[in-house]
Symmetry: C2
Subunit: 301 residues, 2 copies
């Protein structure tokens, strides 16, 4: 098998992780944690979301976090932006990269952002246009690519339709989300097989959730399809909003353990990463559910 020599891990714990934790973390602890993450070798950290605090109270301090962290050269700091209003705040905070988001399935899109898919496009198009005008790179998230909690199966044609619209708007990278963690490797092979005929693999990131334990197998299949960018959340922070108690984002530490073992470089120091995981675990006040962390905790004890 031909494996890539290098993979880019994009840490989404401070956003996708914390927004799904019931515990509220103090702003200063978030800042300290992101500063720690910046020194692990991670080259990309999604630090917060400029969604209205009414929807995500856990990240109401987005501006404070974005303007107070230490910006380490070489690290890209990104934030989620839902609309023009969010973008204004994000730009004022001097974020490096803006992430827009929508779903591949109609029902999830409506439940998540209160608009139809058709109504979402012009809102995102405006954000992308303005962000690009402000010299920012833009990432586009597509949720429910491999399945929807309301509609079940999602057709690859629907994913292509949304992806095409987002690329037409000018996004620099597309992140394909298995939002509820239902994907299997054969599906990943099939979906990527179709998508990679339309879009360059360098512009696509994979965003797997480990809800049913298949995330690393899906990463492995993606690696074999030539993919080299993966989103993950340290310690598996966040869990799954559709299945409380179950796993959420694939854990950065589990992903890194596997990649290290496979001799695929990431530039990230697993020991420093573990320290950062223990820091946020302590603040969250519960054992995070990454396999790596649980095995390490047990070995230390």
């Amino acid at each position: 098998m031909k494996w890539p020599e290098r993979v880019m891990i994009k840490e989404v714990g401070p956003r996708d992780g914390l927004q799904n934790e019931p515990v509220s973390i103090a702003t200063e602890d978030k800042i300290a944690w992101i500063n720690q993450l910046s020194k692990t070798g991670l080259a990309y950290i999604e630090i917060t979301s400029f969604v209205h605090p009414k929807w995500i109270p856990q990240l109401a301090d987005a501006f404070d976090v974005a303007t107070s962290i230490e910006r380490v050269p070489g690290v890209t700091y990104a934030a989620l932006v839902p609309n023009q209003k969010g973008l204004e705040k994000a730009l004022a905070s001097k974020i490096d990269e803006v992430s827009v988001f929508m779903s591949a399935s109609e029902t999830h899109n409506r439940k998540n952002i209160n608009k139809s898919i058709a109504e979402t496009f012009p809102v995102l198009a405006e954000v992308v246009r303005e962000a690009k005008a402000a010299q920012k790179t833009v990432r586009g998230y597509v949720s429910t690519v491999f399945g929807c909690p309301y509609e079940g199966a999602v057709s690859v044609e629907q994913v292509i339709r949304v992806a095409e619209k987002l690329f037409d708007m000018g996004i620099d990278e597309l992140s394909l989300g298995d939002t509820i963690g239902v994907a299997n490797p054969r599906q990943v092979e099939e979906v990527l097989g179709v998508l990679l005929k339309r879009f360059p693999k360098e512009k696509i990131a994979m965003h797997f959730h480990d809800t049913r334990g298949t995330a690393l197998a899906n990463v492995l299949m993606s690696l074999q399809m030539g993919m080299t960018t993966f989103d993950s959340s340290l310690g598996g922070l966040g869990g799954c909003p559709y299945a409380p108690g179950a796993s959420g984002n694939v854990a950065t530490d589990d992903l890194l353990y596997m990649l290290n073992g496979m001799n695929i470089s990431t530039g990230i120091d697993l020991e420093r990463l573990t320290e950062a995981a223990l820091f946020i675990q302590h603040k969250i006040g519960r054992a995070l559910n990454s396999h790596y962390l649980q095995a390490m905790a047990s070995c230390r004890a």
Copy 2:
């Protein structure tokens, strides 16, 4: 990618699972559970171990369990046997298949069975000879194939040496154990790449632990190498003796979820399997840590 059409799952929960649970399960509950498992479509269940109760008190009722369960035609019932004395009891219980076991690494072998590897061979050879004389099939387990908790790396030459000895004794199948869950897919590719030049893939089973979350990725790599027999423990029952609190055997339900999604048939009914998992979870008195079970539990609640 060419995927196999069918895979054989060998359920080791009643043995590898229960022997690593601190809770003692009543004999009648074990029997009821194994009877339930027999009706899920599983074609192979390792039901107990005839190791001396001093070492594994949880399975002291081996004979009672083996002689009291309902034997469903088409299901192979197997048990672990350490020596001649254990074999006598196993044969008296009319078990279908006998499993002998040893480690690829010297230190783990000594700690686990109190003998050097060289001292172990003649003991196992006698068990295999007698079991074959009694018309039983014999499985040989090799532990620490992908790493040892005491010695670290284990050379593939050492695995070959042990495997060759076991096949020479007359075992029908070899089960390659990632006892402490350290394997990664590239290592699986490399180790199998060497082993499959010496031994037929039809005679090898893969026995992965999910301690660091890589088990299903390792299964995926094994499938790609042509492997079609996998050991697993329902609900991830058992955990890891070297890292209490961490995951142990790959969970049968996680494995089945992935294989079902990949359209690889096993003959096993996931719904009935889930019922059997809930039964033993209730008896164990703690939430089992398979991803599938946790996601399902949450969805039901």
